[in-house]
Symmetry: C2
Subunit: 345 residues, 2 copies
């Protein structure tokens, strides 16, 4: 079953603004051998996520950037091919940060086995993985939803936003999503059950948001930034909470917007309305993983959380799909199927 060579996608150069295909390079290398304490993994599903754009820049972020000529970073679900690692056997399914490649070595660090009883194994990259944990921990630890409050989340059909909104509804909030295009908005309202979903591509988002949030906004789960943030700011109620999880609207920016420095106005809003802005990264809450999987897998089983994947075949398509993801072209959690899913044969 394993191909004769390992295909990898490397970071070839750092993007200026939007990434282009030339920033990536597909190479073929020998399939590595598992040494002592290691296992050889064959990638099945590779996750594509907005944070990857940040890893392509040289600037310091919460993690070191990917080096030029290095394999692009990413989480993936794989099958164990060979194992010299106690507790792991060939044929088992694991999720780990093994990168954009068909084969990888792992010593098990930062990874864990996937329980196929909880759902399709690809869910370990989304609703039952890093994006789901991001939604769950940001919402509960920082957003602190209360019955009757209003929550707004953008990228509402995506891996994080869809889970944020559905959990907030389970907790009794009025939930307004924002998404790009009529198809996504209909999905968010009709399938995910949000109270409302607004298309940010249509005019006057600020006015429509105000109409959709007659009691103001108590929780704004920030995963986009930019114009959506500007439209939300005047609607925030006293004591509103803003978990800051992502800023996809800024990731491709090459320079800050000119005109007026609105920091003083933002600080004034924080003061007068007693707002809480708190940034977080999912790893800060890794210890809550067990509780998260317990709760969210339960809600999935009960049909109270729905989840959509947008799967593309072929590792070679990962660059194009990441470029599209950063423009909102995906519809649901973006995944690259690198090799066939053995659980579906």
């Amino acid at each position: 079953m394993p191909a004769e060579m390992n295909r990898q996608i490397l970071l070839a150069s750092r993007p200026q603004g939007e990434p282009v295909p030339e920033n990536f390079r597909l190479v073929e290398t020998a399939i590595p051998k598992a040494g002592p304490g290691q296992m050889l993994l064959h990638t099945i599903y590779l996750s594509l996520d907005p944070y990857m754009r940040g890893r392509m820049d040289a600037g310091k972020s919460y993690a070191a950037p990917v080096g030029i000529g290095e394999v692009m970073e990413g989480g993936a679900v794989s099958v164990v091919v060979e194992s010299n690692l106690a507790g792991y056997s060939p044929g088992e399914i694991v999720v780990a940060r093994t990168g954009w490649q068909e084969f990888s070595l792992s010593n098990g660090e930062g990874g864990h086995k996937v329980d196929p009883a909880l759902g399709p194994i690809s869910f370990a990259l989304g609703v039952l993985g890093m994006p789901g944990l991001t939604a769950y921990t940001g919402l509960f630890n920082i957003g602190k939803p209360k019955v009757g409050e209003t929550l707004v989340v953008a990228a509402a059909s995506g891996a994080v936003g869809s889970v944020v909104g559905q959990i907030a509804r389970i907790k009794g909030c009025q939930v307004v999503g924002i998404a790009g295009g009529d198809q996504k908005c209909r999905f968010v309202k009709q399938e995910l059950g949000f109270d409302e979903c607004l298309d940010h591509r249509l005019p006057d988002l600020a006015g429509r948001l105000q109409g959709a949030c007659p009691k103001g906004v108590d929780i704004y789960f920030e995963n986009v930034g930019g114009d959506v943030f500007e439209a939300i700011l005047p609607l925030l109620n006293n004591f509103a909470r803003i978990p800051v999880c992502g800023l996809i609207a800024h990731y491709n920016a090459t320079q800050p917007p000119q005109g007026t420095n609105r920091v003083p106005q933002l600080m004034r809003e924080i003061l007068v309305k007693r707002l809480s802005f708190q940034g977080f990264i999912v790893f800060d809450f890794a210890s809550q993983f067990g509780q998260f999987v317990h709760d969210v897998s339960g809600w999935l089983r009960q049909g109270r959380i729905k989840y959509r994947e947008d799967i593309t075949d072929g590792l070679e398509n990962a660059p194009r799909e990441l470029i599209g993801l950063l423009k909102g072209e995906n519809f649901g959690k973006k995944i690259i199927r690198v090799s066939p899913d053995p659980s579906k044969r």
Copy 2:
């Protein structure tokens, strides 16, 4: 002892930028009579505080603005002259929000008796009053100081900043103050015992702050905004907390600064460093008043908190002194002595 007339200072017009004397008007009116359930108070000490600038504007803030022709708002320590209110007797000292006037009526709401055993009665306007409670509750509820952390606070010789820094030192923090001018900085270091105090009027505040905070900044108690905030932002450590208590640098601004909108950069810092910004108003934590008075009066008695007042005689000087306060011309907690302090006779 009471004068024949009541002198009051009214808001005559709303300032454009910095307040000017013409924004205020001194009037004489009859001394009111205490009706049922009321007491007549004679003002001894009137507090001047930066928040008063906000009350002079028409815009909505956390409290309604003072109306044109209305008595300027403010807290004051007074002596009871007549009382038809159960529990209050002539000669007792109370603190209440009675405004810029020599005599006032009160039904006791929003006020309380001053215990002269805890310190000079004027302390009820500062270290043992609203500014002290602001410092104490903002620091503990939002700043959450831990031994060995670095705290920065501006307006370090003022009523709030001086208490923030001294409590943080008691809790084991490295404390760096910022103040305007050499005299204040020497006071903050030598008398208040801060580890360092930097003069914001000298060049390269950002560079000097970096030198004074070799381990970065874990808590920035925000009471000024503007250039100080810009200098602090790059020094904030991961998981830093920023209680947002005041923005005196912006209060006289007539328009936002032009150039670059730094909101996206601020949001990125919040995300990447997992910063917590939280606005608060002292009234949000009113329930902690008892614990605050217990702790801070104890530290005062032990000499672990020192406190400086800047007292000017005469209600007629309140406008000039508020204008000066907004430019940092006061040195210590600014108070107007409206009538002689009976506890000092």
